[in-house]
């Protein structure tokens, strides 16, 4: 017992402030992109057609896997900042134009009243590579301590206020996803976490994948491949109206 207590002293207090003014992705990290020029070369370099070139070019964060191929092909046209705040409330808001990205809105006052201080999520892993899952799990460690904001992943959809979906939704997971969604009582929230859940990610266009069905409405989109834990937590807190 004494050894466990001594170890606790040695390991120290590790929970980071969140949000904090100086939180940024690591120096080589790829965060919110900024665009200039017509981006023809960048668009041609993207394996996922995430960039529409032209006088008013657009980069769709919902299709982007943050591989940096566009910035390598057109360094003057696309530059990735270290800004981790990438989440959006509507699919179309993920379209970056110039240096502008519309960040996620909070839920309406009625839902905030229900979920604002206690928000429980059932995670559904549906065909991804397990990296999104890993970075969701990280939010439970002492460094991030998502529980301090009243957010928690729970075992049963019956105990949950919503689902957080990762992966491109394979044909083989389609039914399980729907059953899990149906098992959560209304009102409920749906979060698409990671490039796969939003637009198929690296597996976009595969016939083995069906994506989140249209009749399951998504309330929050979290881009990234995988999203950094900072990005996920930022999105969740914006959804609950804890960050403006």
């Amino acid at each position: 017992m004494i050894k466990a207590l001594l170890a606790r002293l040695k390991q120290g207090y590790r929970t980071m402030d969140f949000p904090a003014a100086d939180l940024r992705l690591p120096p080589r990290g790829l965060g919110r992109p900024e665009l200039s020029g017509r981006l023809e070369k960048a668009a041609a370099a993207c394996p996922y057609s995430a960039i529409t070139a032209g006088a008013d070019p657009v980069l769709d964060l919902g299709k982007c896997v943050f591989c940096g191929a566009c910035a390598a092909a057109d360094p003057a046209g696309v530059s990735f900042t270290r800004d981790h705040r990438l989440c959006a409330s509507r699919r179309e808001d993920l379209a970056v134009k110039g240096a502008v990205l519309k960040r996620a809105d909070a839920l309406g006052a009625d839902l905030r009243g229900i979920f604002g201080r206690s928000f429980r999520l059932r995670q559904v892993s549906a065909g991804g590579c397990n990296a999104c899952e890993a970075d969701c799990n990280v939010l439970g460690t002492p460094a991030w301590d998502m529980g301090r904001f009243g957010i928690q992943f729970v075992a049963s959809p019956r105990h949950a206020d919503g689902i957080l979906v990762t992966g491109p939704v394979t044909r083989n997971m389609e039914l399980a996803l729907r059953k899990t969604y149906d098992a959560v009582s209304s009102p409920k929230v749906v979060i698409a976490c990671g490039a796969c859940a939003i637009g198929g990610g690296p597996y976009a266009g595969h016939e083995e994948c069906v994506s989140i069905p249209k009749d399951i409405p998504v309330d929050l989109y979290i881009p990234g491949c995988p999203p950094h834990p900072m990005t996920i937590l930022d999105g969740l807190l914006r959804l609950l109206g804890r960050i403006d």
Binding site: R14, L25, R28, F66, C67, A131, V138, G167, A176, H206
Partner: protein
């Protein structure tokens, strides 16, 4: 025909008559060979069977192939259980029936009409026998899979593991490459094994293109792979502590795992090592300041892990749950062809870094522990953490000078190459075949989990169902790496 890890060869040289193929395969497996890969490649209206066998002690790879004659072939699983999933896969992918296979059923449910999880499950009958079904959606934040236990009270007679929910068609797309997405597919075959799989993919292409990867790039790759191992092993030891309700180590390791991921992100910008590898070398270099920073962080994180993990071995309530739980004997491990920490924890001295050396690995000593239980699988991880930290520290101190990438030119036509690396879960095998145009004709991926899932099922046999989470975590296998 004989070859070795990372050398390309003419595929027609491996061709033999079907009858001789099965005789040879049986005799080589009987002589101590271990299946690295066994698969069918479409060839006109027919299929070609290809088997790669590894001889660990000699570090030799042998490849045999034959044109399958007719709609079925001779199953070797009854004599060599390590082939059971490979033959089921050939049945599902190519429609060739392994005659005499005792366990023939789908593995990925990706054929027309197949419904995931609906299969002919093994059942046990008796008045007090009951069945427990779990998944595909599990209680934790983990990947989907279906587990079915045949129990008598708490005792597990049999566990059947039915996966396929993560099947997203990656192998098929890799086979149509190389193209702009190929490397991303390799990086996400199992997202927590980005370095392991990306290295294997790049190596296969480099072998086919005849490229020599510069020494500095090899060492930088080694740093990424060992950081990946450090992060995952540390996370696993924390999770094992969590599963026996020993929260200090669970909490400390949860944070420390992140320190290793952050070191990876310092090198390439991504916590999982994405964007680092490319055929011919790597994309990011280290300067003096970054080396210094990494050295400090490594030292700090390693001391933290030493302190956190040390508690495990000194706490009676932990030993009580770890020892003699989920025992896999060496005989079972060898019979099933287990790889990685799961094999080494059962006393099998197999590590690609030792047996099939590649890149920067020289004179590597394998960490082995013999008891085959959860304790052993935990302890092997701790031994490997020490080894990996030592390797990374050594490499940071003596990084070779020179370029970080070479040009990777066109691939040799009508050739093949086997690329083996040691991911943190065990041996990864990529088998690439090119066609006459120098494009890929087929690409086969064997994740270590493909070999190891049956090991988990055997670990539960005769155990208690309440030990399942602990046993499962002690293997911590990949669903997506197996389902592809």
């Amino acid at each position: 025909m004989k070859t070795e890890n990372l050398s390309s060869f003419d595929m027609p040289a491996a061709d033999m008559d079907p009858a001789l193929f099965f005789e040879t395969a049986a005799s080589r497996l009987g002589a101590g060979g271990r299946t690295l890969a066994y698969f069918a490649v479409p060839e006109g209206p027919e299929h070609r069977l290809v088997m790669a066998i590894g001889f660990d002690r000699e570090g030799r790879v042998e490849v045999y192939s034959c044109l399958a004659a007719g709609p079925s072939f001779r199953a070797l699983t009854p004599s060599f259980p390590q082939l059971h999933l490979f033959e089921r896969e050939i049945f599902e992918q190519a429609g060739l029936k392994p005659e005499g296979h005792p366990w023939l059923k789908p593995i990925r449910f990706n054929t027309p009409g197949a419904v995931p999880g609906v299969a002919d499950f093994f059942t046990v009958h008796g008045s007090q026998v009951h069945e427990v079904a779990v998944g595909p959606v599990h209680a934790g934040v983990i990947e989907p899979g279906h587990f079915r236990f045949q129990c008598h009270g708490e005792k597990v007679f049999h566990l059947e593991i039915m996966l396929g929910y993560q099947h997203r068609g990656v192998e098929r797309r890799l086979s149509a490459g190389p193209d702009a997405r190929s490397l991303h597919y390799a990086e996400t075959l199992a997202g927590d094994t980005t370095a392991g799989h990306a290295w294997a993919y790049c190596s296969a292409l480099e072998a086919l293109a005849g490229v020599n990867v510069p020494p500095r790039a090899q060492v930088l790759r080694g740093i990424m792979l060992e950081l990946e191992r450090l992060a995952n092993h540390t996370g696993d030891l924390g999770a094992l502590a969590g599963d026996v309700a020993f929260l200090p180590t669970a909490n400390f390791c949860g944070r420390l795992r992140g320190e290793f991921l952050n070191m990876t992100a310092l090198v390439c910008g991504n916590r999982f090592g994405r964007n680092m590898f490319r055929p011919g070398g790597v994309n990011f270099d280290l300067d003096f300041a970054l080396i210094k920073e990494l050295r400090l962080r490594l030292q700090d994180a390693f001391r933290g892990v030493e302190n956190a993990v040390g508690l495990l071995w000194e706490t009676g309530s932990v030993s009580d749950r770890f020892e003699n739980t989920g025992v896999v004997s060496r005989e079972t491990a060898e019979g099933l062809g287990l790889v990685g920490p799961a094999a080494r924890a059962s006393g099998v001295p197999l590590d690609t870094r030792r047996n099939f050396p590649y890149g920067p690995y020289e004179d590597f000593t394998v960490s082995v522990s013999g008891s085959g239980d959860v304790y052993s699988r935990a302890y092997v991880r701790w031994l490997e953490i020490q080894k990996s930290a030592e390797l990374v520290a050594g490499w940071l101190d003596a990084l070779p000078e020179g370029p970080i990438a070479a040009e990777c030119g066109p691939l040799r036509p009508d050739s093949a190459a086997v690329a083996l690396t040691e991911g943190w879960r065990g041996q990864i095998c990529h088998f690439a075949l090119t066609g006459p145009d120098g494009r890929l004709r087929h690409y086969k991926v064997v994740d270590p989990s493909f070999h190891n899932w049956q090991g988990l099922a055997m670990a539960l046999r005769g155990g208690e169902i309440s030990d399942f989470p602990l046993c499962n975590k002690s293997f911590n296998l990949s669903y997506c790496g197996r389902d592809l």
